[in-house]
Each structure stands twice: as structure tokens, then as C-alpha cells.
């Protein structure tokens, strides 16, 4: 049941229609940022209002929603957003990646491979990949129009010249469909390869910056690099202390005040599933 006094999905129908039109154009021009009117939400900008507006415009009564924050289902932001949609849309929620039809995420892509029929909604703080290099929106718009991304290549080159490698471990810029430079939102560079030719539809919402963009399924998403300095995603060199995974992205957790630390999977659902399987096998 939807909470009384709210339209289904919280947003009014006019707003949803406006966002829906923006979403369709975003899918038609992969990686291009489409402006939209971000409405006031019952939480402040920076807490995922863009992602929530996209989810609210897409979600239906039959959907099953999963929300993650840095890979975890049980953090404040994830729990609040899940509860919000359970209240204003009456939808089922889940923590299982495989069971969800819509996954709203902040800063991670689940380890479990996504499939057709799923939609991944990213919360994006800054949609413009060039903003640190060129603060004027009028200029970045023109650079996107001309596919003039030399500035970003210079930035990567300078990183290599100074540090010997590209010094970006998250929010690593990608080229979508061979045309548009896109911010993958601050996911770790480790997750970038998962975006490439993903069977699921990827939608991005930036509430404060009022931009929506999208990557259709099976679309080429390439992390920028050079032939002699190929893109290399970084991962902590350790197995997960809880499930033993050597493939998943790890969080470093400080466990005491004597320098003790452990590495655990950032994706809680992936880690819990592996632990259960391991217990069952024993």
C-alpha cells in the first residue's frame, strides 16, 4: 500500500513525465547529459535526490527495489531510501542483487553480474567529467558538442608524467559508445569494466546539478587510457577476511587503535551469499 496523501512514487505526474522524456532522450544519445527540473525532495541534495527522482519516475507496483550505498545494503542512506519507496510506492524491497528489478546505487556496481530486465540507477554528485578542468558550463557543452576531449587526455598525461600512473582511483572518466566523455559517478575505477556492454540499462541522476544521462545495454564504455599506459583498475592486494573472495572490491576497516586492519568485501550481499555457501559446504 502507498502511504496516504502521496502520489504513487512521491513525485507528481507532471514531474514524472518531464523526467521520463529526459530519460528517453538520454537513452537515445548515450552518455549525453540531459537537463531536467530537479524537484524538492524530503532529503537534501547530496543524499541521492537525482537517483531518487529517476527511480520514482521509473518504478512501478511490480518492481522489486534494492538500494546500496558504497556496496552496502545496511547503511543509513540505503535503508532510508529503501524505506522511502516502500512507503510512497508500496513496492517490495530486497537486498539480493539477483532478485531486484531496479537497483539504486551510490558509488558501487554490484559484484554479481547484472542481467537484462534490470535497471541500475546511479546517484551522481557531479555529472560533468570536465568540471575540474573547465568550470564554465557553456564551454564544456561546446567541448561535448565537438567531442573535444583533449583536455582530459592532457590531465591523464600529466598524471603519468608526475606520478608514473593515472592518479584517479574513482570517478575515472569513460568514453561511451566511442563518442561522449562521461563521468561514471564516483564508483571505484575497479568497477569501470563492469559498465562495458552491461546487459542491464544504466541510468544516472544528478539532483543538485539537474542532469540525467544513460548508458543503454550492450554499449561500449571505455576507460580513457593510452596505448603504452593501459587502464588498470586497482584492488587491495588481499582476500576478503570474511568470505575469502579474491575478485571483489574491498573496503579497508580499521579494527583497533594499534594499527590493526582488515579487508572485507564492499558488496555486503555478495559477501553474505558467499559466507552462507561456504557454511553450507562445510
Amino acid at each position: 500500500m502507498t502511504a496516504l496523501g502521496y502520489n504513487f512514487g512521491y513525485l507528481d505526474e507532471n514531474t514524472k513525465r518531464m523526467i521520463r522524456r529526459a530519460l528517453l532522450k538520454a537513452v537515445a544519445v548515450p552518455g549525453h547529459q540531459v537537463p531536467f527540473g530537479a524537484r524538492e525532495m524530503p532529503l537534501p541534495y547530496g543524499w541521492g535526490t537525482g537517483g531518487i527522482a529517476v527511480t520514482a519516475s521509473v518504478i512501478g507496483a511490480g518492481d522489486r527495489l534494492k538500494v546500496i550505498d558504497q556496496g552496502a545494503d545496511d547503511t543509513t542512506n540505503a535503508v532510508s531510501i529503501r524505506r522511502f519507496f516502500a512507503k510512497v510506492a508500496g513496492v517490495e524491497t530486497t537486498e539480493r542483487t539477483g532478485e531486484a528489478t531496479i537497483i539504486q546505487t551510490r558509488h558501487r556496481i554490484p559484484e554479481t553480474r547484472l542481467r537484462e530486465g534490470q535497471i541500475l540507477v546511479y546517484q551522481v554528485p557531479m555529472p560533468e567529467p570536465l568540471f575540474r578542468l573547465e568550470p564554465r558550463v557553456s564551454e564544456t557543452k561546446r567541448m561535448h558538442a565537438l567531442a573535444d576531449y583533449g583536455l582530459m587526455h592532457v590531465k591523464l598525461y600529466e598524471d603519468i608524467a608526475r606520478h608514473g600512473h593515472v592518479a584517479m582511483s574513482y570517478n575515472y572518466p569513460v568514453l561511451v559508445g566511442g563518442r561522449y566523455l562521461m563521468s561514471p559517478s564516483p564508483i571505484p575505477a575497479f568497477d569501470n569494466p563492469k559498465m562495458d556492454r552491461m546487459p542491464a540499462l544504466q541510468l544516472f541522476g544528478a539532483g543538485r546539478e539537474k542532469r540525467i544521462y544513460a548508458v543503454p545495454p550492450y554499449t561500449a564504455v571505455k576507460s580513457l587510457d593510452f596505448e603504452d599506459h593501459p587502464f588498470r583498475p586497482a584492488r587491495a592486494d588481499a582476500p576478503c577476511a570474511l568470505c575469502g573472495s579474491r575478485e571483489s572490491y574491498l573496503d579497508e576497516v580499521v579494527v583497533d587503535d594499534k594499527g590493526g586492519r582488515m579487508f572485507v568485501c564492499s558488496d555486503t550481499d555478495y559477501c553474505a551469499t558467499r559466507q552462507t555457501q561456504r557454511e553450507a559446504a562445510e
Binding site: R21, L23, L24, V27, A28, V34, V58, A145, P217
Partner: protein
């Protein structure tokens, strides 16, 4: 006014269901979508085409259509959208008869390619599994789509539409209660 037929029976969930079908259609070009909830649109509007307009059109979207005064009155009442006489001025176009020339429609600008028109084209038939070979974003290897009732010269016009990327027109094909979409990025090979 007395002859006016209803739009969606339950506007909020019906519009959501049709939007998801459209989103899926646009994200996976050439796959056919259908939704059970149909509006009672007056002829010659196809139910799917009418549903797409009810889902996306409102006071902010100028619409062009060639479906006659009955359909115009119906849409104006249910969607409240302005109707324009010039195809080039429209954000959404519904063609029940002859297809408007793609080159004459608003294709957006290089900086703002999203400000382009969406053409909803009613066709005689849609079928997957044979016909055109579609490739491009949204398609794993290839999708097959067969469309009945397109004008001659469509493929040349579509290829020209694709060449001006990121500008371009996006197409929604409707046959009865079924729809498929061709975003500007989709390349078509072979005979329909």
C-alpha cells in the same frame, strides 16, 4: 464533447507501464513491447500510439498530428498539449498517414541533441525474428525486426538521420497495441 472516449482507465499505473515499455523499447531497439492497459482512442489512432502520447505529452510539449479533428480533440482533452501545424515546430509527432520527412523535423543542436523531435509512426505490422538486421547501442549482437507499411526511401532517410549524430530524430513504431523504437543510434541493414 459528447463523443469523447476515455484515456487511460487508471492514469498513474497505466502511464508508468507504458513508459517502462517505451524505455525498454528505446533501450533495446527492435524488441517489440506491449502493455495490457489500452486507452480508448478514436480512429485512426492506434492504441499504442495513443498510449505513448498520453504517457509523454503535456502542456510543455508541442505535438503535431495528422489523425483528424476527432483524435486532436481527444488528445487535447486528455493530455492538454498544444497542437502545432508545422512538423518542424513539434516535440512529438504522430503520423497515422504519410510519414513526415525526417530532414524537416527538429533534430536538436550539436550542443543540445536532446531537444530533438520524437516521431511516433503508425505502421501496418511489426514482427521480430526476421527482416532488418539492427545493430547499435542496446543490441547485444543483432536484433531482427520486420516492419510493414513504411514508405519507400525510408532506409535512405534513416541512414541520413544517423549520419548527423548526435543530432537526429528518434522513432517509435506502433502497430495496434504493439510498439518498437528506433533511437537515432540504430543502424539498419537488409530489407524489411
Amino acid at each position: 464533447m459528447s463523443g469523447l472516449t476515455p484515456g487511460f482507465a487508471d492514469p498513474v499505473p497505466d502511464a508508468q507501464a507504458w513508459f517502462r515499455a517505451l524505455l525498454e523499447a528505446m533501450a533495446r531497439p527492435g524488441r517489440i513491447q506491449r502493455v495490457a492497459a489500452l486507452p480508448q482512442a478514436p480512429a485512426p489512432l492506434a492504441p499504442a500510439a495513443a498510449a505513448v502520447l498520453l504517457t509523454l505529452a503535456d502542456a510543455e510539449t508541442p505535438v503535431w498530428m495528422d489523425a483528424g479533428p476527432g483524435a486532436e480533440e481527444w488528445l487535447r482533452f486528455h493530455a492538454g498539449c498544444p497542437l502545432v501545424a508545422e512538423p518542424g515546430a513539434a516535440g512529438f509527432l504522430l503520423a497515422a498517414g504519410a510519414m513526415p520527412e525526417l530532414a524537416a523535423l527538429d533534430a536538436g543542436t550539436e550542443e543540445e541533441p536532446h531537444r530533438s523531435a520524437t516521431l511516433i509512426l503508425q505502421v501496418a505490422g511489426l514482427e521480430t525474428g526476421r527482416g532488418w538486421r539492427l545493430t547499435g547501442p542496446g543490441i547485444g549482437t543483432e536484433h531482427r525486426l520486420s516492419v510493414e507499411g513504411l514508405p519507400g526511401g525510408f532506409l535512405a532517410a534513416w541512414a541520413a538521420n544517423g549520419r548527423r549524430f548526435p543530432r537526429g530524430i528518434d522513432l517509435v513504431l506502433c502497430a495496434g497495441d504493439r510498439l518498437a523504437a528506433l533511437p537515432r543510434t540504430t543502424r539498419i541493414e537488409g530489407a524489411g
